[in-house]
Amino acid sequence: MLKCWLAGIALAASFTASAAEEIQLHVFSGGANQRPDLIRKIFDDYEHKHPGVKIQLETGGATSELQRQYLSTVLSAKDSTLDLLALDIVNPAQFSAAGWLEPLDAYLGAGKEKRLKEYLPAYARSNVIGGKLVALPFVADAMFLYYRKDLLEKYKQPVPKTWDELASVSRKIQEGEKGNLQGLSFQGAAIEGAVCTFLLPYWSQGKELQDANGKLSLDKPAAVRGLKSWLSLVDQGVAKKNTAEVTTGDTVNEFKAGKVLFGINWGFAWDRFQQDKDSAVRDKVGVAVLPALAGGKSASCIGGWQWGVSAFSKHKAESVRLAEYLSTPEVAKYLAVEGSLLPVYPQVYTDPDVVKAVPWFASAGPVVQSARSRPVSPRYSEVSDKIRTVTHAALAGATSPEQAVDDIESGLVRVLR
């Protein structure tokens, strides 16, 4: 009995002794969509290559909102428990302004510029705040136009290049299919996706929301046209009457059930269509760049995740090194092949192994190339809140498009300056 006890102490002692020599890094990442299982495998590999570094992975709430709630509490309290943080693309600007992120320039040195050139341009832009690199891109995402390959073939219709074309193709096929096939499903609920809903038709007229200094440069007639183009799709019966209620998940489920011809959604939807047991559209789905308004240029909205190093971390250098590794083309390729997560490097989309494992990345590449970042601002949450509530209200018919754009302008002019 006593022997057993002594052995226990000895074991505990040896354990703490070895723990003292090695560094524990605490990494925070999101829920199932970010594939913590794959991240864990990458960490195992990293630990193997870097003896002396142990990595603990903490998964946060499933949604960006819950993760943000947790992170803002921990970081407001200047807590040193977390070293490396997975951040939603919209967060680095605010977190860095709050002094929560360690600037990475000094750690990366001369390699920084070269690295930044290799990423998809939108990511380099979103993660450089006030001239400082504050986070390294990990996984990309964008809004895609999903379409029913089988139906377009059946009716010999092209993949639409403009919103008008999309409307006429939809009406033709809707007529032919009778039943209640929706032409287009997009998000009008007051969720983050509604920010993209506002921006997509606006951007596709070649307009920008911010000038080079980040100041508001809202082209009001273009914004009104954008909102009206959505409303006209609703009026024509191409999109559902209750579009103001539609969330990202609704689009996925309805498309998956075979009730939608065109769907606008993030990259994760592809796997839901192809892999879910209850999917009615397996192998009937195609992906294309989003349509533009007549005379404009197609644009998508980026999403995705970055690694930021906590300013309160006690192991900054080691954390930066890990972040650098997580942000390499090799890791991007691994995640693409194993988890069909979109890479932040353009060349990975055409990598033969990747194309073999996830053939749809070949058509995803051009979309991600066309993707733009939502406004980059330390006060992005105010920007987002304003745009999404107003867009929702306009789609619900609670305000007119003109009034909605006035509201957005008066709300944003104080914030983006």
């Binding site: 943000r68 709630q69 803002s72 407001s76 605010q94 302004a97 709050a98 002094g99 609920a189 007051a190 969720i191 559902k240 009457k241 209750n242 103001a244 209620e245 330390p378 006060r379 949450s381 105010e382 809140d385 509530t389 107003v390 929702h392 209200a393 619900a396 018919g397 609670a398 305000t399 509201d407």
Partner: protein
């Protein structure tokens, strides 16, 4: 007997039921200094209060102190101003010019004014019923408590789903019953507010009922028996026995329901996110947004202090008016 309690009205109303209460005034014979030395007396009272105050001191005194302190600071975490600036009452002055605050205040006051009496009436009905029905009592109690047991944030999500224009059971039932065209309840200002109020009443009337039911069970049966002998009608019995005897419980339930109604967050947050526009945004949602999303801790704290002041005022009104009126 000296009556300083919240529920001061009660003894005058029910005095005859407890002739013994008169006896207790005999305790007043003990002089304060005598009681101080008597561990069974007043000292014990303070000792008994100690754990509560130790806990309060440990857990909430610092956070509340910080909250008040922060309310005097310009503490916008994401404004790249390094240190927090002391701005005196500036935040409080800002509140009065903040249209969003007034809108949120209006929405919150509507929630309080509509859902608190609503839940009280429904809850009282539920409690009277549960107290009276004999058969299937367990099932009735269960159905009375289930709304309370359903996690708050999910209550909002479930009801948002019920009110969904396509997938919702509300439109489905209306269509089956009367062929009524589907409506988008949650995207129009008034119907969204009404749906939220209804959900809150559904959720909170069981809290009310629970407290009132316990109160009902404390009413001695003999009172009703005596009234019966005197030939009092059912309404008279309700008016002159049940209601006055229940006043303390009603007051407790009202105070708490009001405080929590002022903090209404989860249900509108999950049902409408405050929309359309800002039509259903409550004060607590504005505070949440300001603090967590905008990281404007100074102003968020100021709004929280305003909410506290409002709660305090309303509670005092209750204690003063309901507490006094109910017992007479």
């Amino acid at each position: 007997m000296k009556n300083v309690g919240l529920v001061s009205g009660q003894n005058s109303g029910v005095g005859p039921a407890f002739p013994a209460i008169e006896m207790t005034s005999g305790m007043k014979i003990l002089r304060p200094w005598q009681r101080l030395c008597d561990l069974n007396g007043a000292t014990l009272d303070y000792v008994l209060l100690l754990p509560a105050f130790l806990l309060l001191a440990l857990i909430v005194v610092y956070p509340i102190g910080r909250l008040f302190y922060n309310s005097f600071l310009d503490l916008r975490l994401s404004s790249s101003v390094d240190a927090a600036q002391f701005v005196g009452l500036q935040n409080y002055a800002d509140v009065f010019h903040d249209g969003e605050f007034w809108m949120a205040l209006r929405n919150t006051v509507l929630v309080v004014v509509i859902t608190v009496p609503g839940a009280l009436v429904v809850g009282l009905g539920l409690a009277l019923l549960a107290n009276q029905v004999r058969r299937a009592r367990a099932l009735l109690r269960l159905s009375l408590l289930l709304p309370w047991a359903l996690p708050l944030s999910f209550t909002g999500l479930i009801f948002a789903w019920f009110f969904h224009s396509e997938y919702g059971v509300v439109n489905d039932v209306l269509q089956r019953l009367g062929g009524i065209e589907p409506r988008m309840w949650l995207t129009q200002a008034w119907s969204a507010s009404a749906a939220i109020w209804l959900t809150i009443i559904w959720k909170t009337s069981s809290f009310m009922a629970l407290i009132l039911l316990a109160g009902l069970q404390m009413i001695p049966r003999s009172l009703y028996e005596a009234a019966e002998v005197d030939g009092a009608s059912a309404w008279q019995q309700f008016r002159h026995i049940t209601l006055p005897m229940l006043t303390p419980s009603i007051l407790v339930a009202l105070i708490f329901r009001t405080i929590t109604a002022l903090q209404t967050f989860d249900i509108p947050y999950t049902m409408t996110h405050g929309g359309p526009g800002q039509a259903t945004e409550t004060l607590a949602m504005l505070i949440h947004k300001t603090t967590i999303d905008y990281l404007d801790v100074g102003y968020g704290s100021t709004l929280a202090v305003m909410m506290f002041v409002l709660s305090l005022l309303l509670s005092m009104v209750y204690i003063r008016f309901v507490g006094r009126g109910g017992g007479q």
